[in-house]
């Protein structure tokens, strides 16, 4: 994967007001719904603590719980596969499909499947896979990537979707959401019955029962996973929770944090395979063990993929997920992208935050995202040395602040020469890297004397 140019992507998106408006509207709407919903859950804060504790317990004995899950899952008749990376995962899935002569597959929404880029791979091997989640279906026919962890088509407006359905599927042009949904529903309905295999992700892997959970709103996951004779679930190993007793806690925090619903419409718990219905679970490692062994990054493994941090992030609200250039977008997505795709690909991403802390405040499992971003920034600067002008700026400031003589001289000089950059008593066109500021913003001129100097004068007078 090539280096992700976050700022370049973001600037392109900023020049497209339709996307900016669509993302802003959708994220603000989700936040407002969340606010209303959690106001009616009196123990929401305790539920967050309980969920956090359960995830901490998983991290305390990760391998123990993973083994327990695998053992119990096998007892349920599930076939367990383990993939070290995305390539291995793709090969495993292809192998399963080939052995059973699968030509057509349907799938519910899964970010892990996006992570391993399974669709183009299967397509290249003559296997057609249909996305059945409405948002995923839309971006599949648009040949785009998801722009939000839980709402993949958040960047598209109703009009754009109407045009897409008209052009790609031959539907008569309408912007009515009900009509569009009905059309997609009818279109996909046939596929469930024709499909040789159904695929899904997993929201939770329950260690003590060996069962797994898929939550959804459209009923498409239920149909994808039960109508075809074969179900392949693709999931990251971090989705573990210790016990089925913990599940209600997670279900109670997931939907409110994500869409602002009290509960998702459907909660599917898979607990048994049968003779005429095979269930395979592909457990994917792909960088997660590296996170587990990293004292700072490991906290991010607790993420339950609610997308709340994206909704609340003022940068995400402006540019949406595509700016992040990765399947995982938004604040937590930065961390995941860095961990999975490596520091060279993701070296610009940790800086794509003002560290405002809104993500930490909203995170249902209280992941300290700003703290992790700070650490990643430190690592990037340590690896790359930092950009020259930025390094010079920081170095200069450090000198000015630690050397009193330089301080006096520097600011005295600045106040003397600033006149040439002044217009109407404001600095409006500064040189060097400061021009990045005055491109959009004015700044007050430096006063001739510092507070300390003035203080001393006043005391002595």
């Amino acid at each position: 994967m090539k280096k992700i140019n976050f700022y370049e992507n973001a600037r392109k998106i900023l020049s497209n007001p339709t996307v900016v408006e669509a993302v802003q509207k959708a994220t603000m709407h989700a936040l407002e719904k969340r606010r209303q919903t959690i106001a009616r859950i009196p123990d929401f804060e305790e539920l967050r603590d309980k969920a956090r504790t359960a995830k901490e317990e998983i991290l305390r004995d990760f391998d123990g719980y993973l083994e327990k899950f695998k053992e119990n899952a096998r007892k349920n008749g599930f076939v367990i596969h383990e993939a070290g990376d995305a390539r291995e995962a793709r090969e495993i899935i292809l192998q399963i499909f080939k052995e059973r002569n699968v030509k057509l597959a349907v799938s519910s929404k899964s970010m892990t499947q996006e992570e391993i880029e399974i669709n183009p791979f299967l397509e290249a091997h003559g296997i057609k896979k249909y996305e059945t989640d409405l948002g995923e279906f839309i971006i599949q026919i648009a040949h785009q990537k998801p722009s939000h962890i839980t709402a993949p088509a958040i960047h598209l407006t109703r009009r754009e979707i109407a045009r897409l359905f008209n052009e790609k599927l031959g539907m008569e042009y309408t912007e009515e959401p009900e009509e569009l949904t009905k059309f997609a529903r009818n279109y996909l309905r046939k596929k469930y019955f024709e499909a040789d295999a159904g695929m899904s992700g997993a929201n939770f892997l329950i260690a003590d029962t060996g069962s797994f959970v898929v939550v959804e709103n459209e009923g498409n996951a239920r149909m994808s996973t039960t109508l075809p004779p074969l179900h392949v679930a693709v999931t990251g190993i971090e989705k573990l929770i210790p016990s089925i007793k913990d599940l209600p806690v997670f279900l109670k925090i997931l939907a409110p944090s994500s869409t602002g619903q009290h509960q998702t419409v459907y909660t599917n718990i898979f607990s048994q395979a049968s003779k005429d219905h095979e269930v395979h679970i592909v457990l994917i490692e792909n960088g997660r063990r590296r996170m587990l062994n990293d004292p700072v990054l490991r906290e991010a493994l607790m993420c339950i993929r609610c997308g709340g941090c994206s909704n609340v992030c003022p940068i995400f609200q402006l540019v949406g997920g595509h700016a992040y250039g990765s399947v995982y977008s938004g604040p937590i997505g930065i961390i995941w992208t860095y961990a999975i795709f490596g520091p060279d690909v993701a070296k610009e991403l940790p800086f794509a935050s003002t560290l405002c802390g809104a993500c930490y405040e909203i995170c249902p499992v209280r992941i300290n995202i700003p703290r992790i971003l700070l650490e990643l920034r430190r690592r990037v600067i340590e690896r790359t040395g930092g950009k020259l002008e930025e390094k010079a700026l920081v170095g200069l400031w450090s000198q000015l602040m630690t050397k009193p003589v330089l301080n006096k001289l520097g600011f005295h000089l600045a106040s003397k020469i600033q006149g040439i950059f002044k217009k109407d008593d404001k600095l409006t066109h500064l040189p060097f890297v400061f021009s990045n500021w005055t491109k959009w913003k004015d700044i007050e001129p430096f006063p001739g004397k510092s507070f300390r100097e003035l203080w001393k004068e006043r005391k002595n007078s």
Binding site: Y7, A10, R11, L14, V20, P314, I315, L318, V319, P350, F351, A352, S353, T354, L355, C356, G357, A358, Y360, E361, R371, L374, R377, R378, R379, V380, I381, E382, G386, E390, K391, L393, V394, G395, W397, S398, L400, M401, T402, P404, N407, V433, F434, N436, W437, K439, W440, K441, D442, I443, E444, F446, P447, K449, S450, F451, R452, L454, W455, K456
Partner: protein, 247 residues
């Protein structure tokens, strides 16, 4: 009670008036204030963009200036700088037990000005007046970092003649983010513009905050957009109507 004032690097070099207004507030409540001769910066500007070596240098120099005997408290007119010292110095010096000792010692004495007035001096109300419509921007590190939400707004509401009007995006970041604003100017500007619109919708004459950094950023855009709303630090508002003790 003796307080050593940490004016912060921005106030010191860009808007000394905020320093004097902080002193005025403190002296009004009977506090004796001293100001160090040496300049100092908490180091946040370097720390937040990953230059921890430079951050350490500034933080160490800061500790040398402020970890001195003879003062009961250290007070600063900035939520962000206090947050840096209180929360991040421990990360920065995690491998230096001796420095950590100094950090712990100083942490318990360090307060942001409104925090100091309400928590330490137990001030309920500032006996002052301010005429004008004013709206409040909650700086991120003050609100979510230090957890101060209600107190500054209570002070503003209770000022005689002041007309406090909250804005809808009060708790949304203004887009400054230190060097973020220099690294990603177009993004920063668009965030600030959104904030400016929220401020404009209140029809306030003034926008105030605990942090000069946010106000410089917001003010820079208000000015560029030709809006006449004035950015003022919260101590400027609180101190304006107070009798000057020394006069």
């Amino acid at each position: 009670m003796r307080v050593l004032l940490f004016p912060t690097c921005l106030v010191d070099h860009i808007k000394p008036k905020i320093g004097f207004d902080t002193v005025k507030l403190l002296e009004h409540f009977g506090v004796e204030v001293e100001v160090p001769e040496k300049p100092s910066c908490c180091g946040q500007i370097a720390f937040n963009v990953g230059y921890w070596k430079d951050a350490k240098e500034m933080a160490r120099a800061w500790l040398d200036v402020y970890d001195v005997p003879g003062f009961d408290y250290i007070v600063a007119p900035s939520g962000s700088c206090v947050h840096m010292i209180r929360e991040n110095y421990e990360i920065l010096f995690k491998d230096e037990p001796k420095t950590l000792e100094r950090v712990h010692r100083i942490k318990s004495k360090l307060y942001e000005i409104v925090e100091f007035l309400t928590k330490v001096l137990k001030v309920k109300e500032i006996p002052s007046t301010f005429s004008g419509k004013v709206t409040y921007h909650a700086s991120c590190h003050y609100l979510r970092g230090l957890g101060v939400k209600r107190e500054p707004k209570e002070f503003l509401k209770n000022l005689k003649n002041a007309d406090f009007i909250p804005m809808d995006l009060e708790e949304t970041c203004c887009g400054f983010g230190g060097l973020f604003s220099i690294k990603f100017p177009d993004l920063s500007y668009n965030m600030t513009k959104r904030k400016a619109e929220s401020i404009k919708n209140t029809h306030a004459d003034f926008v105030t905050s605990s942090d000069l950094s946010c106000l410089m950023n917001i003010g820079g855009v208000l000015s560029r957009l030709g809006l006449k709303i004035k950015p003022v630090h919260i101590v400027e508002i609180l101190a304006e109507g107070l009798e000057d003790e020394k006069d």
